[in-house]
């Protein structure tokens, strides 16, 4: 009986260690990695149909997908050090990248939700965001992109410049400078303006990465929940 217990404990230990260690493909350079995770963040490998729980420090290859749950957050760093993405709650996005010499051309497809970005000035490489209704090319820019439930896209530029092209309708083109915002409707119509106070608040909140915790006392013990408090 005692030996059985020891065996199970050892088995549990080996299993825990195996799961705890992040599996890494040693041949391909990952496009990005997950810098920080709050609460419920999962990712889907290229060749898998199943979502897996993401871990801090996990590398991301081109074509992999990230999903955040309720009150959750993921910070994504690109391997060339050019930018940081803040994937807010209830968002889904794909990371794409192609290495060319010493640069990585990056494209992030935001399926839904809000992604804040802070991107250094690019040399020659591309840094693009794609949504169901638009594609945006950025250089040395901070802001956020939000994809609504109706697939409309809102692009807010705090500083720098973003070139936007609608993917549907008349495929209009526009440029968003610092302090401006732009909306592409589900029909591809572009509307420009300055950043509203609501958008400004959203941008400020999108730059926050601190979390709060609550503790719930139960009969089985204390449950601790970590959550990102800003998005009500």
């Amino acid at each position: 009986m005692k030996q059985t217990k020891i065996f199970f404990v050892l088995l549990l230990f080996v299993f825990s260690v195996a799961v705890g260690f992040i599996q890494v493909d040693k041949e391909t350079t990952p496009i990005a990695l997950i810098k920080k995770i709050v609460q419920d963040v999962s990712y889907r490998p290229v060749d898998s149909s199943d979502w897996e729980a993401a871990k801090t420090g996990a590398p991301l290859k081109s074509g992999e997908q990230i999903k955040t749950g309720f009150k959750s957050l993921a910070l994504v760093l690109f391997s060339d050090g050019t930018g940081l993405l803040r994937v807010r709650e209830n968002s889904t996005m794909y990371i794409y990248g192609e290495k060319e010499d010493n640069k990585i051309n990056k494209n992030t497809f935001i399926e839904k939700g809000l992604v804040g970005f802070d991107v250094n000035k690019q040399d020659a490489e591309e840094f693009k965001f794609t949504t169901p209704t638009a594609v945006a090319a950025i250089r040395g820019t901070a802001g956020y992109i939000e994809v609504g439930k109706d697939s409309s896209t809102t692009i807010v530029c705090d500083h720098g410049r973003i070139e936007v092209e609608s993917l549907i309708g008349n495929k209009e083109k526009a440029t968003v400078d610092g302090g401006s915002a732009l909306n592409i409707s589900k029909k591809g119509v572009i509307a420009k303006g300055i950043i509203s106070s609501l958008e400004n608040d959203k941008f400020n909140k999108s730059t926050k990465t601190s979390v709060k915790k609550i503790r719930i006392e139960t009969e089985e013990g204390t449950i601790e929940l970590e959550f990102y408090p800003e998005e009500e």
């Binding site: 705890g20 260690f21 992040i22 890494v24 493909d25 040693k26 041949e27 391909t28 350079t29 990952p30 990695l33 810098k35 920080k36 801090t56 420090g57 590398p59 760093l77 391997s79 060339d80 050090g81 290495k99 010493n102 640069k103 990585i104 000035k121 500083h159 400020n204 926050k208 601190s210 709060k212 915790k213 609550i214 503790r215 408090p229």
Partner: protein, 801 residues
């Protein structure tokens, strides 16, 4: 791209290594008050923390660091924060410019004497020259993605990620070494293509919470070191980042110290207590700090320190002791006990400070005199005869308490255009003491602007300040009747009496108006200080032109060490080439004094500076060679017998050579070697010729992760006005960690021979009693020629929570 044959590199490296290892000269300075000064990594544009360890700190009232970069005109004088037996200061990154940073310390004793570190600066010794390493193109090839620089994170979130995506083709990524907290952890690093990943918590058996350091050594395909980068960060145990159910997180530390200093047969016992508490809720951070010491007493300026601060993205508010930084003419780094607040909201920047910068210290009445026998001396003053029984007394003056109010309104962005207006008003409290030196008042108005264009390649900066000073406010503002008694209608100024009264009445609520105001005539610009600079960063050049003007009566109580009565131009250029491995610096400065014709002659100060720095990073030492020539002369003729004592005519030539070399021989070593020589030829009246030579060598060897040794030698030789002074100092010691890093032992022995004779022994033992509770015992023994044996012994208990 300069290509140097590998065999030559090896030959040169070998010769230099032999020189470095065989020399008998070195670094370390002698001092009666400072045992050592340590600097953090000195890199172009980065903040640098300076820590000075003090000897006999009981006798020290103030420590100032005086520093400047190679190209700069003025030394900046800043007050260091004294806590127990250390003094600290952080030099702002904007003041840290390659190729060198010169510094010395000014130590003021409680008995009003003063000395410098190293001893005798500026007459008998030169400031210490430190090499400032420059940012390299290679720095942008090797990227530490995580952790960020100076980041504080939880141990559970700690992972290390290094990107080689942008590395040169000559780099062999597989040869990269990762040194984490002094230990080579490469075997545990995952090489994922051009991304290196390391998860310390998967491997480290005992992983101490707190400061961590990371070093990445990158090699080329020939196996030679291509580049190395370091990063410091803090990783804390979850126990140290506690989070309450309400969302409040906190951490902190408490430390208590008892110390006995025996100096010149006099023993002094100290007790110090320090407490730091950090807390946060949401985006708001709170910090409380307190330091209580038995050295506190009413006869010296405050020794205790305390502050409470709250900060967020847009607000920074601090109560207690703060060190506000406005501009270099107004207020910068001076301790203020009161409140200091900053608001940054979009393009609006507001900064306000109010508090006491000097507390009152009552003077003492030493002797009494009658009307008849009172001597005519400046410190013999009329006193209250009813109170003291005599009309005159000889007084040792104290000082009045001094309050300061300052504020700035800025508009714009630091990345583009920003304009600011600010003021400072500071006044002594006349009633704070009975026997004090003359109470004063100061008002300064200032403007500043900064314009950056073309992605910071063009930077135009300007700052100006105009001051008014009242050198005696004892009797306050003139009354109308006093004005009437001074002027008569028939006088030349008599018709303006009413105007004068009106102006006085308008000004007096803000500033004391009497005969001690200066300047009286603003049109001479004697109280104006201004400087403007234009910086151009193109074609690998950093070209900077600076014009300064500081009238002889300019004065700010917030910046008391500003050099006045000087104007002129400073032009410098720093050119970098060979992938930021080779730097040339050339500078010319032409200043003159006597701006308001208050001196018998005008002196011209001309300086030529040039340096060349080589940072090859491939098994080659870093080399910085610099030459400075100062020529000072005024227009007094040698035949002018009436003014010949005022003749200034001297030339000083200074050469310095600094070499730094990190190499592997069995284990890792870090070494430095420097030579400095100075020769002043004085053709003035006093013929104060001076010759000076010093050399120093320092070697740190990292034998194991637990054991680090250090060795240094300094040789100093000067001949100043035919007075010769020569000594040599050797220092050797080491640090050893044992019992799974829970016990750390350190020892250092440093004898000095020659005209400066001293033996110094330092012993330290630190033991972690329970997790985060450290007990540290320290003993220093000094045997000096003039004071005999002195000891400092103490015990410190520190707990992090």
């Amino acid at each position: 791209m300069l290509k140097i044959e590998r065999k030559y590199i090896k030959s040169i490296s070998f010769v230099l290594a032999i020189i470095l290892c065989c020399t008998t000269s070195i670094m370390g300075q002698v001092s009666n008050t400072v045992s050592s000064v340590t600097f953090g990594e000195i890199k172009d544009g980065n903040n640098v923390n300076v820590t000075a360890s003090l000897i006999n700190s009981a006798s020290i009232s103030r420590v100032q660091i005086v520093y400047k970069s190679f190209q700069e005109t003025d030394f900046r004088t800043r007050e260091m924060e004294i806590q127990g037996d250390i003094a600290t200061y952080q030099i702002a990154g904007v003041d840290v410019i390659a190729p060198t940073l010169s510094y010395y310390l000014v130590i003021e004793m409680k008995n009003a004497s003063m000395e410098t570190y190293p001893l005798g600066v500026p007459d008998a010794a030169q400031p210490i020259i430190l090499t400032v390493s420059s940012m390299s193109e290679k720095d942008s090839e090797i990227l530490i993605l995580s952790p960020s620089s100076n980041e504080t994170l939880s141990l559970n979130d700690l992972f290390i990620s290094i990107s080689m995506v942008k590395a040169s083709d000559v780099v062999d990524i597989s040869k990269t070494k990762i040194i984490f907290n002094g230990q080579d952890v490469t075997q545990n690093v995952i090489f994922a293509g051009e991304l290196l990943l390391y998860y310390p918590q998967n491997f480290e058996q005992s992983f101490n919470s707190g400061s961590q350091n990371l070093e990445v050594l990158v090699y080329n395909k020939a196996g030679e070191l291509y580049h190395s980068i370091k990063r410091d960060f803090v990783a804390l145990d979850l126990a140290q980042i506690k989070e309450l159910g309400s969302g409040i997180r906190f951490n902190g530390d408490a430390a208590g110290e008892i110390r006995n200093e025996s100096f010149n047969d006099k023993s002094t016992f100290y007790q110090n207590l320090g407490l730091t508490l950090n807390a946060g809720i949401g985006d708001w951070n709170f910090k409380g700090y307190g330091y209580l010491t038995s050295e506190e007493n009413k006869n010296v300026q405050p020794q205790n320190r305390y502050s409470l601060s709250v900060s967020s993205d847009w607000l920074n508010l601090r109560a207690g002791d703060s060190y506000p930084r406005y501009n270099n003419l107004l207020l910068n780094g001076k301790r203020v006990r009161g409140v200091d607040g900053k608001i940054d909201y979009g393009i609006i920047h507001i900064h306000g400070t109010y508090g006491e910068v000097r507390r009152e210290i009552e003077g003492t009445l030493d002797s009494l005199y009658s009307e008849d026998n009172a001597p005519l001396k400046s410190n013999v003053v009329r006193i209250d005869s009813a109170k003291y029984g005599a009309p005159f007394g000889m007084v040792d003056f104290g000082n009045h308490s001094r309050n300061l109010l300052s504020a700035r309104l800025g508009l714009g962005s630091k990345n583009g255009f920003e304009f600011g207006v600010s003021f400072l008003h500071s006044k002594d409290d006349v009633k704070s003491v009975e026997f004090g030196s003359k109470p004063e008042e100061n008002l300064v108005a200032s403007t500043d602007m900064r314009l950056a264009l073309d992605d910071q390649r063009i930077i135009l900066k300007g700052v100006g300040a105009l001051s008014v000073m009242n050198s005696d406010i004892t009797y306050g503002t003139y009354s109308d009747s006093e004005i009437d008694s001074i002027f008569n209608v028939g006088d030349e100024l008599g018709n303006d009496i009413e105007n004068f009264k009106n102006i006085k009445n308008r000004i007096s609520p803000f500033f004391t108006v009497n005969q001690f105001i200066e300047p009286l005539n603003f049109t001479e610009l004697s109280s104006l200080a201004a400087e403007g600079s234009l910086e151009l960063n193109y074609f690998n050049n950093n070209l900077k032109g600076l014009y300064i003007y500081r009238g002889n009566q300019f004065s700010s109580f917030g910046q008391e060490y500003t050099r006045t009565d000087v104007a002129g131009l400073n032009i410098s250029d720093r050119f970098r080439t060979l992938d930021n491995q080779l730097f040339f610096t050339l500078g010319y400065e032409n200043l003159n004094d006597n701006l308001q014709k208050t001196k018998v002659a005008t002196t011209t100060f001309q300086t030529v500076r040039t340096s060349v720095s080589l940072y090859m990073r491939q098994n080659m030492p870093n080399i910085t060679l610099s030459y400075i020539r100062n020529k000072n002369n005024n227009d007094i003729s040698p035949t002018d017998s009436a003014n010949q004592t005022s003749i200034i005519n001297d030339i000083t030539d200074r050469f310095s050579l600094n070499l730094g070399y990190d190499f592997n021989y069995k284990v890792r070593h870090s070494s430095s070697l420097s030579f400095m020589t100075s020769n002043r030829v004085d053709e003035g009246f006093y013929k104060n010729d001076a010759k000076y030579f010093s050399t120093s060598f320092n070697l740190n060897s990292f034998w194991t992760r637990q054991f680090v040794s250090n060795f240094s030698v300094i040789y100093y030789n000067s001949d100043i006005s035919s007075r010769k002074y020569k000594y040599i100092t050797i220092a050797a010691g080491g640090r050893y960690k044992m019992l799974e890093d829970n016990l750390e032992l350190a020892m250092n022995y440093s004898p000095s021979f020659g005209d400066f004779s001293r033996h110094a022994l330092d012993l330290t033992a630190a033991y972690q009693v329970i997790r985060n509770l450290w007990l540290r015992a320290q003993m220093r023994y000094y045997n000096m020629k003039d004071s005999g044996a002195n000891t400092i012994s103490g015990v410190t208990v520190r707990y992090n929570f």
